[in-house]
């Protein structure tokens, strides 16, 4: 059996969020959706305060509660490598998976994918920041420039759409770069792991003792490790190295961090006059 998963070393992670950006570019995800997300939080009391980071992709659970609650079987676990996928052709957008997953990794798509892209709604305003004209003009193309055609390839085993940014009204989340796993050249890699400057993300087969993540776990036997919310019975396949966030961990983000796409569009259309003036104020 193969079960793809990750080991994430939270001690190595320094919170740069390059993985978040790499994922967005790789999978063309829209505004507001973060298939990979990095929690930033504080631990301890003054003067002994630490800032900590914890990247959070979909855990590709062995007992995925999201798939359990899906009424159509659109959310399913792929037998051959254990990736939990969303069949975009079958999903009815009911968001049961979003409610059923305890990790908050599901993102619904309520705009057409191109409209949801950064800068798309912005036609003329804020030209100094974002450039003027439509994105299509900019790249001189009739096709959808924001979408890598590799995601249009049907995905095994159902041969349906299940890769990259999802169509409108459909649920999406991390696919462990399924298009890479199904390719010749990039199998065994993900965009986030490949990009991580600290090499904090080890991706591979969690069932294979010789895989990179398993080797890394062996090399770091002395370190504490944890899986997220194991008591939920979802059997997640991401193992974290480092200290688990304590019950008193204080998130640094407030609600604004998870920017509503409407707000993002509003800001794009009416940006502050320049970055400097904002800083000066």
């Amino acid at each position: 059996m193969t079960q793809l998963g990750m080991v994430i070393d939270t001690d190595a992670c320094f919170g740069c969020r390059a993985c978040v950006e790499a994922c967005k570019v790789e999978n063309n995800t829209p505004r507001g959706a973060f298939w990979m997300h990095v929690f930033r939080y504080e631990e301890g009391e003054y003067p002994d305060v630490d800032q900590e980071f914890m990247p959070r992709p979909c855990q590709h659970c062995s007992e995925p509660s999201c798939a359990d609650v899906c009424p159509t079987g659109a959310r399913f676990k792929r037998e051959e490598d254990g990736i939990v996928l969303t069949d975009y052709d079958r999903c009815i957008g009911c968001r049961y998976c979003e409610v059923g997953c305890p990790y908050g990794v599901n993102y619904a798509q309520f705009r057409s994918p191109e409209e949801a892209q950064y800068g798309f709604a912005n036609e003329n305003a804020g030209a100094d920041w974002y450039g003027s004209g439509s994105l299509a003009d900019e790249v001189d193309s009739d096709s959808t420039p924001w979408r890598n055609p590799v995601h249009d390839e049907p995905v095994a085993p159902r041969q349906t759409n299940a890769s990259g940014n999802q169509p409108r009204g459909v649920m999406g989340k991390c696919t462990l770069c399924v298009h890479r796993q199904d390719s010749e050249s990039k199998r065994g890699t993900t965009a986030c792991a490949e990009t991580c400057a600290a090499d904090a993300i080890k991706f591979g087969d969690m069932d294979d003792p010789n895989s990179e993540p398993r080797r890394y776990l062996r090399q770091n036997q002395g370190k504490s490790r944890f899986k997220l919310m194991e008591d939920r019975g979802t059997k997640p396949n991401v193992v974290y190295l480092g200290e688990e966030p304590s019950a008193d961990a204080r998130p640094i983000e407030d609600a604004d961090t998870f920017k509503d796409p409407e707000t993002a569009i509003e800001i794009e259309n009416h940006p502050p006059e320049s970055v400097e003036t904002e800083v000066e104020q």
């Binding site: 009424p71 409610v99 305890p102 309520f110 998870f258």
Partner: protein, 426 residues
């Protein structure tokens, strides 16, 4: 016995003939509001966010709110109305047959409203049929569909069968013409003899609801690994009690309004309204207890609610809404209970109480849905929830749709069962 009916009968069949300006006024206003609700949804589906909620990542916002609260509310109303009607038929409490018919009218309409609220919440409503094409036995939504689908069929069959019994008698006795819809319903003279079917269907309904709606499925399902966290065991009983309370309250309200509009004091007598009010109050108190237990055990989406969600909800931003809902359930329940206990009947108080009770239940159901989604266990911020304008439009739309359907049905089918008219003189 039936030979003494005609004068009473004429009075009770009057709605079938009278179509005045009031009727057309109600039809126009409710039709417009219903269309506005559907239009709000079409705009959302075609032009952006479906519900204006925080949909981007579970714990960054509340993905479900009023729409799902209203789904549960309408399903509850339908089930409660249907159970009341079925119980009256099975137990042959003929003096309450008038209430049974109100329930029979209400149930299919309320199921339609509940289905609309589910549809409003789907990102790809056009694919809803996928739930049937690819049924997933372990999904709660699948069982919602089995429950609602099964009950839609049962409630429509029940309505047709019970109405048919009346219509065929009325046609046989010459009170109704043997043509059009009534002729079709009455069937051939030979068919008019068979009439016990309604009690059998009522029996099936009485068995189906507790098993699928509140008992076996949640129980069996909560034994499955992951779902233990998903479904607090109190959910089933809570849902059944909510159904009884809201269904009874809606029947009470409709019967009270009919009493005022048509003056049918013999069918919906003060005493009978008060008795139904008392029963509603009784189940209302049980519902309140169950709802508070549901909050305590982690609210709706227990899979994400932290263990302290109960204290978070009673002290956090949701507490005002929750306390208002509790008051809106408890106060009318007390009023209704006092009325029956003290033998004092006040029609205005009864009507007002049933309206406030219904609003309170809708509020409580919404709080139950929103609560567990507002307080994530991971490091996400606590979310806020304010229903969007579109969600309000949906609710106003479905209420209007049910009123519209009821008013139209009352012009097509006899509103008062023959059995009640026979009892009316007592």
């Amino acid at each position: 016995m039936s030979t003494q009916l005609p004068t009473d009968m004429d009075r009770f069949l009057a709605p079938l003939e009278r179509r005045g300006s009031r009727f057309y006024g109600i039809v126009i206003v409710t039709a417009i509001l219903a269309v506005v609700g559907i239009a709000a949804w079409l705009i959302e589906v075609t032009g952006g966010h479906v519900t204006n909620l925080g949909n981007w990542g579970t714990s960054a916002g509340v993905p479900w709110g009023l729409d799902i609260g209203a789904f549960g509310w309408w399903t509850g109303i339908a089930i409660g109305a249907l159970l009341l009607a079925a119980a009256i038929r099975v137990l042959r409490i003929d003096s309450y047959l008038g209430f049974a018919r109100v329930g029979e009218f209400l149930a299919p309409l309320a199921f339609l409203a509940s289905f609309l609220h589910i549809l409003y919440d789907l990102g790809r409503p056009g694919r809803v049929v996928n739930t049937v094409l690819y049924p997933q036995l372990q999904s709660p939504l699948f069982w919602d569909i089995v429950l609602v689908g099964g009950l839609v069929v049962l409630s429509v069959v029940f309505l047709v069968v019970t109405v048919r019994e009346d219509v065929s008698r009325l046609v046989a006795e010459g009170n109704l013409d043997d043509n059009g819809l009534h002729g079709w319903l009455a069937g051939t003279p030979a068919q008019r003899e068979r009439s016990a079917a309604s009690r059998w269907i009522a029996g099936i309904i009485l068995a189906f609801v507790p098993v699928v709606g509140g008992g076996l499925v949640p129980w069996a399902w909560s034994q499955l690994g992951v779902n233990m966290n998903w479904f607090g065991a109190v959910q089933g009983p809570e849902f059944l009690l909510m159904s009884l309370t809201s269904g009874f309250a809606m029947v009470l309200l409709a019967a009270g309004v009919l009493r005022v509009v048509y003056g049918w004091s013999s069918v919906f007598s003060d005493r009978r309204l008060a008795v139904l009010g008392g029963v509603t109050a009784g189940v209302g108190f049980f519902y309140l207890v169950a709802a508070l237990f549901a909050i305590q055990s982690g609210s709706f989406a227990a899979s994400m609610a932290p263990s302290n969600v109960a204290s978070a909800m009673t002290a956090g931003p949701l507490s005002t809404m929750m306390l208002l809902a509790i008051a809106a359930i408890a106060i009318p329940a007390v009023v209704l209970a006092v009325q029956i206990a003290s033998d004092t009947y006040n029609r205005t108080a009864t009507l007002l109480s049933s309206v406030v009770l219904l609003v309170g239940i809708l509020g409580m159901e919404t709080v139950l849905v929103v609560g567990g989604l507002t307080y994530p266990e991971m490091l996400y911020p606590v979310s806020e929830y304010v229903p969007s304008l579109a969600e309000w439009a949906h609710v106003i739309g479905t209420v209007s749709l049910v009123v519209l359907g009821f008013v139209v049905l009352s012009k097509l089918l006899p509103l008062v069962p023959v059995g009640t008219v026979e009892q009316a003189g007592e």
